[in-house]
Symmetry: C2
Subunit: 347 residues, 2 copies
């Protein structure tokens, strides 16, 4: 499996997820602005991967600051942090990563600029490595809810490509597979960006995990026919009450899961849980370029000049969610209590 | 508006709906086998349009039979009917049209072959003209449930292109618009064949009715945000109990509509109602080439060799349906009673 994001000669390198699986192009970022742009343009996507990319971008930015005066360095660094935080509005891991990097400065009030640069790079490396370990833990915790024989439906790509490796929702799938369970995956194609058909199908094929592609609108019918035993998706932000912002279409799956008595789980690291946001209503939902909807992989699918709407995420109310699988275990209702307890456990 | 299907020099001509709106190509059918192929390949689609095409194809076929012996003619004609009925399995209008044409022979037991050919052509012309009138009546009946200010969501294309003209679900929209109501339409793109983005958006733009395109997975979120006041879709077959087979994704919309208290209506001519099928469970659901799912307008959207599943329709249980709008009025629960009464009224 190709790495989602890595260092090369002190530059940040990402596989271009807009081109996969048809081309394996790599984007080299030499400045934090290039990293922010790569996030915005979805060269890299997936909440955990965005968090790691932001941290690496900030380490890159810190290293480029010329001043050896600590106050000047801090001012420059904070400006870079502000720019990075604007890259995309919904995934909380972005803000969490920026905050985590800023805390390095606070925790080392007497460090020199040279030392801070090293500390920031070390922190970014830690976040990169930690994310892979976190995903392994999510997988082990989550695989306990996967039946021995099951078709697991997932939406978008919450896999190795959405993280530093292994994946959240697909981490659960991988762990169940590695535990010897006889599972197969149903992958929603996930229009408009086609993360399901392009990334999830590709990832699972590389691991030889059986996967069948469907259009987004087929999922409900399959549930009604008893063809889905479990749904696991990732998350871009989880509110304090357990409402979940995730890729557009997630809410529909959750409602259909409830109607058809299919357990619906969310898999996400604690960094995706944002206790500062009381409910899903307060999570900002990014609206992207309508061209993503009027086109598919650059090809027009509607008459020229068609008006389109393109919300990138939706919010699934907590009542539809059977459990939220994190690296610390599976949080269950009431989420306001269990998520808070889990977060404090990790702090 | 271009006609969906028409006669030209005794040949059947259809606009190629696989190419719209990017190309206005016409397919000329000189034999009933060519008409059946056009139906199978979705040059023409939409239950009412398929019915009309089948009738015209049978008139074409009758005219080509060389024998002037009535028994020989009947034998040939029945074979053509059998072939035509195999074109696609789900839409009941196909079987209804074939049966209607066969009844011409039964109703004229002493007619000559020459006379039968004329009678069959006349019957096909009647069905073509009647379908347009039926759609106007569906529109007038249905527009009574459209609020004065409303966003109406529809799925697939149940418009002029799915019928001989005007449309069923879009007939309701057109009639509401013509009645001066301030409405706008949300069109699901309707993967895999993209009837929504290619055909519905195009049709409504030609009539200057405001339309906004969304991906299929956005509909639920919009409902949850109160942005949809009404859903109207077409039907491929309605069972005696009011269960509705329609384009894949319809079931999901209906479940989401119920969750969000959005009225969900089906618009269809009585020829779509099949009283011989007790419930939706007995309606055969066509599965089409997985390539339609792994590709979009001929372009690959998944890794080569990806397994896919492609059910073309799903079944919406009657409990999710607020009303079934026909040319005779709006049938409401209990459908087993109201649909039967409406059908006998038309017989």
């Amino acid at each position: 499996m190709v790495p989602t994001i890595t260092w090369r000669d002190n530059y940040v390198v990402m596989i271009d997820q807009r081109k996969l699986p048809f081309k394996e192009n790599y984007v080299v970022c030499k400045t934090p602005a290039q990293v922010a742009k790569a996030i915005r343009k979805m060269v890299i996507r997936g909440a955990p991967a965005i968090g790691v990319a932001a941290a690496m971008g900030l380490a890159l930015g810190a290293n480029r600051i010329k001043s050896i005066n600590r106050l000047t360095f801090e001012r420059h660094f904070l400006r870079i942090c502000e720019q990075m935080a604007k890259a995309r509005p919904t995934a909380s891991n972005l803000f969490w990563a920026v905050q985590t990097m800023q805390e390095v400065l606070k925790k080392h009030p007497t460090a020199s600029v040279r030392e801070l640069k090293d500390l920031l790079r070390t922190k970014a490396d830690e976040l990169l490595a930690a994310d892979q370990a976190i995903n392994r833990a999510i997988g082990l915790n989550g695989q306990t809810v996967v039946p021995d024989e099951a078709t697991v439906l997932t939406h978008c790509n919450a896999g190795a490509l959405a993280t530093a490796g292994y994946g959240t929702a697909l981490g659960v799938v991988r762990a169940a597979w590695e535990a010897g369970k006889n599972i197969q995956v149903l992958a929603d194609e996930t229009r408009p960006f086609l993360q399901g058909s392009r990334l999830t199908a590709w990832e699972l094929q590389q691991d030889n995990i059986p996967v069948t592609l469907i259009t987004d609108s087929m999922a409900g019918y399959l549930m009604s026919k008893g063809r889905v035993q479990l749904i696991v998706v990732g998350a871009d932000r989880v509110a304090a009450n357990g409402d979940v912002a995730n890729k557009i279409g997630t809410y529909s799956l959750a409602v259909l899961a409830k109607e058809n008595k299919v357990p619906f789980y969310v898999a996400a690291p604690l960094s995706t849980i944002d206790l500062s946001v009381p409910t899903g209503d307060e999570i900002p939902i990014e609206e992207r370029d309508p061209r993503e909807v009027t086109h598919s992989l650059g090809q027009a699918i509607a008459p020229a000049g068609t008006t389109a709407w393109n919300p990138a995420f939706d919010v699934t109310p907590n009542r539809f969610i059977e459990g939220i699988i994190t690296e610390k275990g599976i949080a269950r209702k009431p989420y306001r209590k269990t998520l808070k307890a889990m977060k404090s456990q990790s702090a």
